[in-house]
């Protein structure tokens, strides 16, 4: 037996489970035994009935797997509707029409997927950058960045109204970003591109930065910058030249634009050099902490947790009281765990729990590290 086996066995001896009242268990077991006996009679009869009914039926309509359903019986526009769906993380889905059907397909700590198949609903999503929250509506997927928004399912189109925060709306043709106050209708099968973007204001992580005065402008359709600013990242990537020999000659905007083109065209590894250049050369820029955070996310995505931890640490160091600090510290902790650096992860976890005893990631940090 290896040393590791001995360590694990030793640790497992510390595990204990109190099964509770034996009487309660015995009663529960006896109830189930009785139920199973009844089922042994009922199920064959039901199967026989179904087989006969199935043979006679011409109905081919197949519903998607239904795990949770909320059907409002109030008049249209009545909010809040009768049966809001509460998710484990505290997020809520409130039906807003007479007949709204919501399917909760996955409700996990890291991933929530909700399908709206009929009617309309308001989504109140608790911000959590470590969890993906996706709403599927026909051919659209609305990925939540942390927000409150409405989705209205009509015959010919789907309307998405963002009250606060932002969401990404995508289908097979592309994706658009909607921010607070935006309301857009999407026809079934619509092509999505940046023309839908209501707010051209850039940010370093999700939108497109303006070109600096010294860099070439969006003069022609063949210019990768123009394509990138139009949201055509895949096309922009095809014609974007390789990095210049003198990276110092490029401005922070150019570097961030290059990284966006690489990331959003599905080539995250090629965004690394640009983001590293931003972090190395523009430490004083207000967008650099966010660039370092994005770099950490890319390293996570590429299975390089040690590098991810370093990038998250750098993001914190660049802006110790910025809005990303809590998330960066949490992700740094998890990245260190993934990298096998348990002492480092425990140190960061203690730091997080001390600074954010009621933080967004407190429960997860406790759970993953076992710290009280």
């Amino acid at each position: 037996m290896s040393d590791l086996d001995s360590l694990v066995r030793d640790a497992s001896t510390k595990l204990d489970f109190n099964p509770g009242s034996l009487e309660a268990l015995r009663e529960a077991v006896e109830r189930r035994v009785q139920q199973r006996r009844r089922l042994r009679v009922v199920v064959p009869l039901a199967c026989l009935t179904l087989m006969v009914g199935g043979a006679l039926s011409v109905r081919h309509h197949v519903e998607p797997p239904l795990i949770a359903q909320s059907v409002s019986s109030q008049t249209p526009g009545a909010r809040p509707a009768i049966s809001p769906v509460s998710l484990r993380d505290g997020s809520r889905v409130e039906p807003t029409t007479a007949r709204t059907v919501v399917h909760v397909l996955a409700d996990q700590p890291e991933f929530v997927r909700v399908a709206l198949t009929e009617g309309a609903a308001s989504f109140h999503v608790v911000p959590n950058p470590l969890r993906r929250f996706v709403v599927a509506v026909r051919d659209l997927e609305v990925e939540v960045v942390g927000t409150t928004f409405d989705v209205i399912c009509r015959d010919a189109d789907t309307e998405v109204k963002v009250q606060a925060g932002s969401v990404r709306v995508r289908n097979a043709t592309g994706e658009v970003l909607l921010s607070g106050g935006d309301a857009r209708s999407f026809a079934v099968g619509a092509r999505l591109n940046a023309a839908f973007l209501s707010d051209p204001e850039p940010s370093s992580s999700s939108a497109l930065p303006n070109a600096p005065a010294g860099t070439p402008g969006p003069s022609s359709a063949g210019d990768w910058r123009s394509l990138a600013r139009a949201g055509k990242f895949a096309q922009a990537f095809k014609i974007m030249p390789a990095a210049a020999a003198q990276p110092g000659s490029r401005g922070v905007e150019e570097l961030l634009l290059r990284s966006d083109v690489a990331r959003l065209s599905g080539h995250p590894a090629l965004a690394i050099d640009s983001l590293r250049a931003v972090v190395a050369q523009y430490a004083g820029d207000s967008r650099t902490p966010s660039a370092s955070f994005t770099l950490g996310q890319i390293y996570e995505q590429l299975g390089r947790p040690a590098d991810a931890a370093t990038a998250f640490a750098k993001s914190r160091a660049l802006q110790p009281s910025g809005p990303l600090v809590e998330d960066a510290l949490a992700r740094e902790t998890l990245a260190l765990l993934a990298a096998g650096d348990r002492p480092g992860a425990l140190a960061r976890a203690r730091q997080y729990l001390e600074r954010y005893p009621a933080g967004v990631h407190t429960a997860q940090i406790r759970q993953r590290t076992g710290l009280p």
């Binding site: 268990l25 529960a28 397909l105 765990l337």
Partner: protein, 188 residues
């Protein structure tokens, strides 16, 4: 060989096993009192998720209640319950993998072991167990169960093979596969 159990016209909880001449008489009440904690610990080590243990204990004792009258040798009760627990756990673990395939169960989900650790357990113990169960969640069920029985339960290889329904050499191979995966994942 002992005669088959004579099932008295009693409630399920009072059914009798091995009630032949000279045989020790055992009731389901005895089984509950003696072996529920054992089944609970075994289930926790096999599943790695405390939240699922209560359900599994119920599953085990439902099956045990229904089959109790067929238990011929009361002295084999512990091993008999262990076999039911292992088989039930295997079914549950396979269901978990299937759910993961359709995104209803996350491989990244971490069990909250904290309430189930004895007072002497350190943070390192907790972390190690969490990481081990995380790795085990990515390993085929048959190999995971063999390793859990050998390492966590300290069962000899012949017992592991019997419980897993395989040969001793297969049991050894399965345990070795998991040991290698853990060594690589934990970088020790």
């Amino acid at each position: 060989m002992l005669p088959r159990a004579q099932v008295a016209p009693l409630a399920e909880s009072e059914a009798v096993a091995g009630a032949g001449a000279g045989a020790a008489v055992l009731t389901l009440s005895d089984a509950y009192a003696r072996y529920v904690p054992y089944v609970a610990k075994l289930a926790l080590r096999l599943l790695g998720r405390p939240a699922e243990v209560d359900d599994l204990i119920q599953d085990v004792f439902v099956i045990a209640t229904e089959r109790f009258a067929t238990l011929r040798d009361p002295s084999a009760l512990r091993g008999w319950l262990a076999a039911i627990t292992v088989n039930t756990s295997i079914r549950r673990l396979r269901r978990r993998r299937l759910r993961r395939l359709v995104s209803l169960d996350s491989a990244q989900r971490q069990p909250d072991l904290t309430p189930f650790l004895l007072a002497g357990a350190s943070a390192e113990h907790r972390l190690l167990l969490i990481e081990v169960f995380q790795v085990l969640d990515r390993i085929p069920v048959s190999e995971r169960v063999a390793w859990s029985l050998r390492v966590l339960e300290d069962e000899p290889f012949d017992s592991v093979a019997r419980l897993c329904g395989c040969s001793i050499s297969t049991a050894k191979r399965r345990v070795a596969v998991v040991q290698k995966a853990l060594d690589e994942a934990l970088k020790r």
